[in-house]
């Protein structure tokens, strides 16, 4: 018995020691990680002009918001929001203004203090048409920001809405007035500052070598504490194949999107492990409801709800998902990814017999060659597909094959992304393999699916319009009661799914490859990088590049 107690005590003690060691490891700073990204150069490192994921990842490290959305991703009111540049905030009694109390410890990376005037300047810059940023539409509800004193900025809103706090705080990253005030707004896009950003984040910009790398280093004097890693290097690779090779050979530590076939090869002996995280992109086959030859006329095939539902019904989405991603796929349920989805929405079932009957009753009867015909016209449409997306190319072929079995001919039109986007913008397509991002905010869905998103220059590219959906989503957006808002949103989603303006295919697979020594923390559906400043590497697993510390290299010193 004594032996047993002694053994237990030893185990408990060693467990505690190990735990302490783990905690010490977690607290220890140091290490350099190389994040490899395939494809093009990132867009400007300037929040109002950022357009791609990698530059968003970088600016999220360099710049801060006034407050940060919580892990629950709540967008109604300010529940869950955590202080960042603002240490606190106060709502006015009518909720039409919010006073943000700036943390006096906050400093720009050049050492200057952050002031309330920086907030006012940022909002005026974002709203200025000369800046030409999407943010001006997103923060349209923000009238202005005034400076009460050097550390108090007051945001004024046009109207009170459930998501007004989120709309302002989540979308706006605060910019340094003293750096930007003298640059003409219409010249910001080509100015030097977009390549050498100065922010307040826990990482600061070190250098950008075009076509090669972008380097961030820990801001050791940061008011929120220095980043645990010393350095993050974004290495630019030619394509996904090169990126994968660099990851597998140990040259890179993190690749955000490894291919499914690689995952099967990552056994326990491999130096790399897969890290699954929730993404925000979903893919679907969008069906244009306007005639591409005459945009004022309805599409000869897709304007008929019954036909759209029949096409959805004829497609075995689960089988296609399994074929493409095996067990790793996540089926699309509607205009959202699973992390932000309403999983109770009833789906259009896979039923080919029913689909054929629906097409029959819509007047599309089998012709002599098996393709259905109505008024002498075959049931045939073009399907735009980007050549650069292997999953979408394969999906297009599977859709072609499956729809052929119900007498529908699909002509795949594959082209590069730029060409595809030009066709989508011009609404010059029948159907397209599309992808888009979902947003925690309910209002975001409107730009892609509401009637107000239809028109030249707007984002409802399939021209879907249903006033019931519009009314329900509007009700969800303006309702302050979260439960009732959820109910309205659910009915809106159900209406949209029932109308089948698209066939919801899959969530864009988000499995990263990471070197085993890496310990990622705090990943969120809106970005795997959100907790990057808290990622760490245990001291006993560090390799040569982790030990170089923070001493600047000759090249960074020059910059």
């Amino acid at each position: 018995m004594r032996f047993f107690i002694a053994t237990c005590s030893l185990l408990v003690l060693s467990g505690a020691c190990a735990d302490r060691a783990g905690t010490a490891d977690r607290a220890a700073t140091g290490g350099t990680i190389v994040v490899v990204v395939p494809g093009n150069e990132p867009s400007p490192l300037f929040p109002p002009l950022t357009i791609d994921i990698i530059s968003k990842m970088l600016i999220d490290q360099i710049y801060d918001r006034l407050a940060e959305i919580g892990p629950g991703m709540n967008t109604v009111g300010d529940a869950g929001f955590q202080p960042r540049l603002a240490r606190s905030w106060t709502w006015s009694p009518d909720s039409l203004s919010i006073a943000f109390d700036i943390d006096p410890r906050a400093r720009w990376h050049d050492g200057k203090p952050v002031r309330a005037s920086d907030v006012a300047f940022t909002v005026s810059l974002d709203k200025d048409p000369k800046t030409a940023t999407q943010l001006s539409a997103i923060i349209a509800n923000v009238d202005s920001v005034t400076v009460r004193d050097s550390l108090t900025a007051v945001a004024w809103f046009h109207k009170r809405t459930p998501e007004q706090f989120y709309d302002f705080v989540y979308q706006v990253q605060i910019l340094p007035e003293h750096i930007l005030k003298d640059i003409p707004r219409d010249k910001l896009g080509t100015s030097e500052v977009i390549r050498k950003p100065i922010g307040t984040g826990r990482f600061r910009f070190a250098r950008w070598e075009p076509g090669v790398r972008i380097e961030l280093v820990a801001d050791t004097a940061n008011f929120r504490g220095r980043a645990k890693l010393d350095r993050v290097i974004v290495a630019l690779a030619a394509d996904a194949g090169s990126a994968t090779t660099q990851l597998m050979s140990g040259q890179a530590d993190w690749f955000e999107n490894i291919q499914p076939d690689l995952i099967a090869r990552l056994d326990s002996a491999a130096p790399v492990r897969p890290v699954r995280y929730q993404g925000t992109q979903y893919a679907y086959m969008g069906m244009n409801q306007r005639d591409p030859k005459r945009l004022t006329a309805p599409h000869p095939i897709f304007s008929d709800r019954q036909v759209r539902r029949a096409l959805s019904m004829a497609l075995d989405r689960q089988a296609m998902l399994k074929n493409m991603f095996d067990t790793l796929g996540v089926l699309g349920l509607g205009p959202f990814t699973r992390g932000l989805a309403d999983t109770t929405v009833v789906q259009i079932p896979f039923d080919r017999a029913h689909a054929a009957a629906l097409l029959d009753s819509a007047g599309w009867r089998p012709g002599p060659d098996g393709i259905r015909v109505k008024n002498g016209k075959p049931l045939a449409f073009g399907l735009l597909t980007p050549t650069s997306s292997a999953p979408r190319m394969r999906y297009a072929v599977m859709i072609q094959e499956q729809l052929k079995s119900v007498g529908v001919r699909v002509d795949i039109e594959s082209m590069d992304f730029t060409g595809l986007i030009a066709r989508l913008e011009a609404k010059n397509f029948d159907a397209a393999m599309m992808s888009t991002g979902s947003d925690p905010a309910r209002a975001a869905i409107k730009q892609n699916w509401a009637t107000e998103g239809i028109g030249k220059g707007l984002q409802n590219q399939v021209s879907y319009s249903n006033r019931v959906f519009d009314a329900l989503i509007d009700s969800a957006i303006v309702t302050f009661d979260k439960k009732r808002s959820d109910q309205y949103a659910h009915r809106a989603y159900q209406t949209l799914v029932d109308d089948a303006p698209a066939v919801w295919l899959y969530d864009i697979l988000t499995i990263a490859g990471a070197q085993k020594r890496l310990r990622p923390e705090g990943m969120r559906p809106d970005g795997w990088w959100v907790g990057l400043a808290d990622w760490w590497i245990p001291a006993n697993e560090r390799i040569e590049r982790d030990r170089i510390g923070l001493r600047p290299s000759a090249s960074t010193a020059q910059q």
Partner: protein
Amino acid sequence: MRRFVAVRLLHAIVVLFLVTTIAFFLIHLAPGDPFSFENASISSEVRNQWRAQFGYDRPLLEQYVRYLASVAQGKLGYSHSMHVPVVEALALRLPRTLLLMGLALILSFAIGIRLGVFEVRYWSTRKARASNAASLLVYSLPDFWLALMLLLIFGYWLPILPTGGMQDLVLHDYMTPSQAAWDRIKHMVLPLTTLTLLLGAAITRYQRASLLEVLPSDFVRTARAKGVDESRVIRRHALRNALLPMITLAGLALPALIGGALFVERVYSWPGMGLMVFTAIGVRDYPLVLASVIAGAVLVVVGNVLADIGYALADPRVRVH
């Protein structure tokens, strides 16, 4: 000779103008523009504002005239994909490709000519036949496949060489000069070997064929009849004549210096001109594509002029004509 060079230069200016014009209209014929990227959250309204900022909303002919005017003033525009002036982008990428391709050309010509001569001089030996078979094999291999195989073998199965880039991204800046030089060499081995093997095999084949064509000539027979040693016959008599097509080949290879070998730059993530142009075409970075086309055309013209001059210097018959 002066007149010859002057006429060639005049031709060059016409060719440059034509190439620029054709490239300008061809790239604008492709669907999309620099702001047709996939991002549903960026509205067309904002995209149109960006288009207006850079003048892409103006009539095509006006854009063309403005472009010609700015090129004439030495302004090549702003690269939307690299966020730097085009001149800066070229200045950054060109040396990298010149380094890789220049070395590859020198090595492949040196090895190719030697091997070609060896295969002819010792045609009946086992070594010459093996060399012939090997050069034929490498010549017929798909370039992409060879690059990927080398990468797989030396970068992954036997991880003794880096798999991409020009240098160790993290440690290079902290190395001693000798370590840094070694790091650069290590990163260059795979792309350089791939290019040298492929180009060298082709040059070996050309050199061998050219020498075989020259050997039955009367002047070679005369040299042999005079009792000249066979290796001297080949080196001093046959090879000099057989090298003439190599001058043309070298002239044609010059443009490759900036186009680089796209496949090598892609497989090994070598940040050179080829990769930059490939990316620029994909994202419709008009100014960068056009500047690269102009630079390429300049080198084609210069290469041809140099080849013609070289030919004229090497062959008195050309000078007479």
